[in-house]
Subunit: 287 residues, 2 copies
Amino acid sequence: MTAKSQHHWGADALDVLRAGPGFVLSDLDPSSTPGHPGSKSRGQDDLASGLAQLDQYQERLFARSRTTDAPDRVLLVLQAMDSAGKGGIVRHVVGAVDPQGVSIASFKKPTPEELAHDFLWRIEKRVPAPGMIGVFDRSHYEDVLVGRVRSLAPADEIERRYGAINDFEARLVDSGTRVIKVMLHISYDEQRDRLMERLERPDKYWKYNPGDVDERALWPQYMDAYQTVFERTSTEVAPWYVVPADRKWYARLAVQTLLLETLERIDPQWPAADFDVEAEQKRLAVT
Amino acid sequence: MTAKSQHHWGADALDVLRAGPGFVLSDLDPSSTPGHPGSKSRGQDDLASGLAQLDQYQERLFARSRTTDAPDRVLLVLQAMDSAGKGGIVRHVVGAVDPQGVSIASFKKPTPEELAHDFLWRIEKRVPAPGMIGVFDRSHYEDVLVGRVRSLAPADEIERRYGAINDFEARLVDSGTRVIKVMLHISYDEQRDRLMERLERPDKYWKYNPGDVDERALWPQYMDAYQTVFERTSTEVAPWYVVPADRKWYARLAVQTLLLETLERIDPQWPAADFDVEAEQKRLAVT
């Protein structure tokens, strides 16, 4: 079972979307569909066919962790400007597998208690257990994004954090976690359209926050901060993937494919019985 | 929007399935389908049509909690003998809504740290926040079920726990939590079939535990312990619902209907905008 074989992807998503050395965010078109022919209907078919595969991989990963000491787990880190579609990814990609095998951590503005600790304190508590697919909806990267743009910490503290993040993630990887860091990249114009839609539908008002427009005024600063994040923290063991996100179908398919290719590399198998199957059948039959 | 209107239920599930005064577990046929005509295909149609409703209610409940101080939340407590279908409920009923609005707590055998505290210590930490649908996959009831059957605590401690549970749940209800306590009721024969199936399929081995057969030998004692649980803890504010579970489609539909009727009583509405919509549209348009 290979992820690519059932998709219209022309190359490994893990290669195509990786923010490697020399990556320049401003060169990437948010409406492009790298690695895919770009047809929405094909993309939606791919998404549907990928769900069954993801489901299967997830169950095997989970099953193996219950009866063996396999340490493998997956952590999907989602970062983006507001309205870029993190929620849709959680809902339509991750939400398609058994919720018992998924842990979702949504990181809001830190509480006073959280602020009294190192920035990684609240993050450490939410890393996924073996067998799980963990999702960080925002993450420790907020502390070098909004932290930098809004000067919430001194410059030397922000500097320190890049190194601390790399150490932290290297430790996660060493303990069996595949870390998939995704930035959903939307355009300035697309964000306006999406925020405007929230203002046009009473069932979307709750998603709108006047502060979103204030953040929007800092768009160039945020793009700079992301660029620096890629330069400082897209490491060999935990690279960044930048997913053009103006087309929702593409962003969902791309993240699904990143998950599938990662799980394919783990290639979890159904665990063998750690009991005598025939003896148990006999024992059960007489009850 | 009413839950009943789109279903083939003849009466409120909250009434039909309630373990009220005089309820006798051994009188309830695990293969029966109370409240429903009993056709599997109709039941599956009902389940599918209920999903969209559940989804809608869940999003409204969640939305309201983000922008108002509405305290409402739902806690679904699932208890059952092994293989009765708790996992399927989590997967196919709860798993159909946005995972961001769901918190699932699975309670295993207590750790030494948990045992060093009162039995409700680990439970309190997992109660759902406002706007959430929480699921307890096993719960504090284990401490008066296996706790009693296996004599894991002295008799007077078990006695104390019924009262402590009632106090705890009354407090949850007072703080805006709708507590839906469900026992999935399968028959002794159906359990044998389901365990046997796990022994016949290598992709199911991981779900089988030889200890399950040992527990099975204590079936009558467990049924007695459940009967006592209903007598002592099926309170006015947090009643028990006993769902015949030999037919998976029925059990799933029944739990979905319990959730729908509970959410219907909360009847969460989309929250009003707490900002000036027109002013925000203008402010956004010029960015």
